[in-house]
């Protein structure tokens, strides 16, 4: 009996895997011929990254060497291109006029890397990352000392390419269109950690960057120009922006093709004699670029070719990044979604972030960074659809911990733990050490256990377990602890600790803080985000970029939202002074924009109420033209400096209170503070500016200036207390700025100055302000911060900043009939 003829187009991973799966099932059924476009034997394309990084050689990644083809009687046409398939006659035509007939055909044509059609894309030195030729080109470029590489694309492949190039000694930069690396696999927290880890490995990252043009000289690439004008010089440019299924041959043969070659569950194309597997395939509307689904397809195709019944029902995907020392795993709905809940675990000491997503009591996805050892386990639980309700508490700690304790109630589980079971991974403390310390030394609080054993002293993630051990060992003698009030439900840390560590550990972004302080949520909440945003802004002036999405609406749009969703606008009137031209401009704006209410405020300025959000930039533009800037009437920051007319007009005035008020306001405007900050300057003790119920008040007297702090006249009514007295205006300004800075650095977010004063004590503040050196240092820090703050937010927005904020996304539905 003559054998059936099987021809495989594609000598890549899928084609060869399908053949070897088939040979395992039915070695003698077919005469097999394989066509490959690359002039090589079959190799593991996934392992090109380690080859590039110099961690493996090409020989180590060959899957099937020449002997395999020979031993299995396979005819290999390597480097010979297939030109056409005549599906009706069942004949395949290849380069050089070769014709081969078939009974069954497997298309495994794979995919082509996408090349961005940028100007300069055809320059020498612009490569993709797909085959060994690309890798060789990259290695050649890296051989030049001091060479630089730019990789476009911050997906899996782009990162591996950049890492490999950096390992070869190049300065590598990844340019990514999105604001998170590997955003298809990682959430923002894990993406942040990856950016950090790459930077430690010599790969810089430029996020949110659009490429505009590839620059070159004499036909050789020299750099990449971004839309924002930045130029990144490079000697090689790698495009790793995705793949496109290679379908040309299938299409020409008349097979059904969408994005990929369409196959059914048996992996047959629209022609039942032709199968397709691998990256060229589209199955149930899905194309795959990872290896696991390709293996599953090959298994099914082989079973069908061997005459059996098999069905491929699509794959659930998981991803691992192959960068040495960077353990990353992602699967399923790693970002949550409808009806999902998150379990988040962070270990700052070890740089670990884990997020397990549950849906209906089952694992729906996971993203692991820094410790991905349990990735496979979560993936199995996810694919099995296993109920995990009973292991929820320990799930995030991984398989070993969970299986050990499964089915036991928590206290029994703790009792059942072996004495040599490790409780605190950071400090290597076992259960026995803890129980012994508790009994021998009579410890009865968590802090004491921490102090004596170091258990839970580092990352704190084992705190609940240590508490349970305490409880189990002591019974009723255990005392529950009361520490400082946490910032919010996302953390156990108090404001002071958060602020201290931001400065001490040089934490300069919100993800950095959340990771270092082990936030229990992926991206915080409306309580902690504005607080962290302020703390970062205060700690790193000029460096930290304000995060609008972490600001309450009023501070985001620089106006006050009203009950009907309109806004109120309050222009600054320095020291409460105004002029005919300012008033005229205000009157014109009111008429032009049909603003319904105009009100004089208690802070000596004018409030325009009922402005539509879309009108805000235009209203500000008109006010700006008359020389007015934002009054920050919406800010947790400096609001007004109220004054009386002082020695200018008043027969009792002792000093120029208006002049001092204006000086203070002009120096201090735009500064952000923990809560709103109101000042006033009265020209004499009659106190017409009501300075003694302000956060900071100045009472002018004949011999100088009394500075009072800690007043309140809102929810609470409280007079100020005298802080100090100075002789000159200059000293008054120094002292007031120094107090403000001290409050900025120590206050908890939303804590008014009077509450901060009550917490730290007037004497502490006094000591600081009366010491000339410390006062000077505080003043200097305030003055430095003000260099970045005295910028009118209205003018910035008139000029186009955050324009999306003030425009609807689309007007296409405005006139759609209901």
């Amino acid at each position: 009996m003559t054998k059936e003829r099987l021809v495989v187009v594609g000598n890549g991973m899928a084609g060869c895997r399908a053949v070897s799966d088939l040979l395992k099932r039915d070695p003698d059924r077919y005469d097999i011929t394989i066509f490959g476009a690359e002039p090589r034997v079959n190799y593991d394309r996934i392992m090109l990254s380690p080859v590039l990084a110099g961690e493996k050689t090409f020989d180590q990644i060959v899957i099937n060497d020449e002997a395999w083809y020979r031993d299995n009687g396979i005819t290999l046409h390597a480097g010979r291109k297939v030109e056409a398939i005549d599906a009706e006659a069942k004949i395949l035509r290849a380069e050089g006029g070769l014709e081969v007939g078939y009974d069954k055909l497997i298309l495994a044509t794979g995919s082509d890397p996408v090349r961005l059609p940028l100007p300069g894309a055809d320059l020498k030195g612009v490569v993709t990352f797909r085959d060994l030729d690309d890798v060789e080109a990259m290695m050649a470029a890296a051989a030049k000392p001091g060479a630089r590489a730019v990789v476009i694309g911050g997906g899996l492949l782009g990162i591996e390419a950049a890492y490999g190039l950096a390992r070869r000694g190049m300065a590598a930069t990844v340019v990514h269109l999105m604001d998170v690396l590997m955003e298809r696999q990682l959430d923002a927290s894990a993406g942040f950690l990856l950016t950090q880890a790459m930077s430690e490995r010599g790969v810089e990252t430029v996020l949110g960057a659009q490429s505009e043009e590839i620059l070159g000289e004499n036909g050789q690439v020299t750099g990449l120009k971004l839309k924002d004008g930045r130029i990144l010089p490079c000697d090689i440019l790698v495009m790793a922006v995705g793949i496109r299924p290679n379908t040309a041959l299938a299409k020409a043969a008349g097979l059904e093709v969408n994005r990929g070659v369409v196959v059914g569950d048996d992996l047959r194309t629209s022609d039942p004699s032709i199968y397709a597997v691998g990256e060229c395939v589209e199955h149930r509307g899905q194309c795959y670029g990872l290896v696991a689904p390709i293996w599953e397809m090959c298994r099914t195709a082989a079973a069908s070719l061997a005459g059996g019944e098999a069905a491929y029902e699509g794959s659930v995907l998981s991803t691992r990044l192959k960068v040495s020392g960077v353990d990353v795993f992602s699967a399923g709905k790693f970002a949550g979604g409808d009806g999902c809940e998150d379990i988040v675990f962070r270990d700052a000491g070890r740089g670990v972030y884990k997020r397990i997503v549950l849906e209906d009591g089952k694992v729906a996805g996971a993203v692991l960074f820094g410790d991905a050892a349990d990735g496979g386990w979560y993936f199995d639980l996810m694919r099995q659809g296993a109920e995990v309700g009973d292991i929820r508490e320990t799930l995030v700690f991984g398989q070993a911990m969970t299986e050990g304790l499964r089915g036991l109630d928590p206290s029994a589980a703790v009792a059942a733990m072996a004495d040599d079971a490790e409780v605190c991974g950071c400090n290597g403390v076992c259960k026995g050490t803890i129980t012994q310390a508790i009994t021998d030394q009579g410890l009865n609080t968590l802090d004491l256990v921490k102090a004596h054993t170091k258990a839970s002293a580092s990352c704190g993630s084992c705190t609940p377990l240590v508490e349970k051990i305490l409880k189990a060992t002591l019974g009723d003698a255990f005392q529950v602890q009361t520490g400082p009030k946490p910032v919010c439900g996302c953390t156990s840390k108090g404001h002071d600790e958060v602020r201290k560590r931001i400065v001490a550990e040089g934490l300069k972004s919100m993800p950095a803080v959340m990771q270092a302080l082990e936030w229990a949520t992926p991206d915080g909440c409306p309580s902690c985000r504005p607080a962290l945003n302020y703390y970062l802004l205060c700690a790193w002036p000029g460096e930290y970029r304000d995060d609008g999405q972490s600001r309450y609406i009023n501070e985001r749009v620089h106006a006050n939202i009203q009950k009907d969703g309109t806004y109120s606008v309050v222009p600054r009137m320095w020291g409460g002074m105004t002029s005919a031209s300012e008033l005229r401009a205000i009157a014109d704006v009111v008429e032009k924009f049909d603003i319904p209410s105009v009100k004089v405020t208690g802070g000596q300025r004018i409030d325009l109420l009922g402005v539509k959000k879309d009108d805000l930039p235009a209203v500000w533009a008109d006010l700006n033209r008359a020389g007015m800037v934002s009054g920050h009437a919406y800010a947790k920051g400096l609001r007004t400096v109220k004054t009386c007319v002082g020695s200018d007009w008043c027969r009792f005035g002792t000093q120029d209170s208006t002049g001092l008020g204006i000086k203070l306001e002009k120096f201090m405007w735009g500064s952000w503070t923990p809560a709103k900050l109101k000042l006033a300057v009265s020209g004499c003790p009659r106190n017409c500016a009501e300075a003694t119920c302000k956060d900071i008040g100045v009472i002018c007297v004949d011999s100088g200036y009394e500075i009072h702090i800690g007043g309140a006249a809102g929810l609470h009514i409280q007079g100020t207390q005298l802080l100090t007295k100075v002789a000159s205006e200059q000293e008054a300004l120094w002292a007031i700025c120094a107090i403000t800075q001290m409050y900025r650095e120590q206050g908890w977010y939303l804590e008014r100055l009077y509450k901060w004063m009550a917490r730290v004590g007037l004497e502490t503040i006094k000591a600081e302000i009366e010491d000339p050196e410390r006062r000077r240092a505080l003043y200097d820090r305030f003055a430095f911060s003000q260099r970045f703050s005295r910028i009118d937010p209205w003018a910035e927005r008139v000029a186009g900043r955050d324009s999306a904020e003030f425009n609807p996304l689309s007007r296409r539905m405005e006139f759609v009939p209901a």
Partner: protein
Amino acid sequence: MNALVKDPTVWIDVGAVTDVPRRGARRVPTPAGDIAIFRTGDGQVYALKDKCPHKGGPLSQGIVHGRSVACPLHNWSIDLATGEPVGADAGKGCTPVIPLRVEDGRLLLAQV
């Protein structure tokens, strides 16, 4: 889901997913009032009527956290997927969910 229409057949392209800032929202005006489109930190998008069930506050102006938005007027937290208040105000009314589809990175809103 508390959808306004049972079988939306007309989908209107109102922009790209990336036009909506992460942890933010954009408005789409319609004759029946604004629709708010939200994008979470993880890049998921949701659409709700831009009106808090409490006092009608514009939810699009709130702080997006996890899969909720905090209303800018009185800080009610509204679940973006269900339109229902969560936490302390759970069970007190509901904001209509607007059917939203994403295709090739474009946002398609059901005509309501």
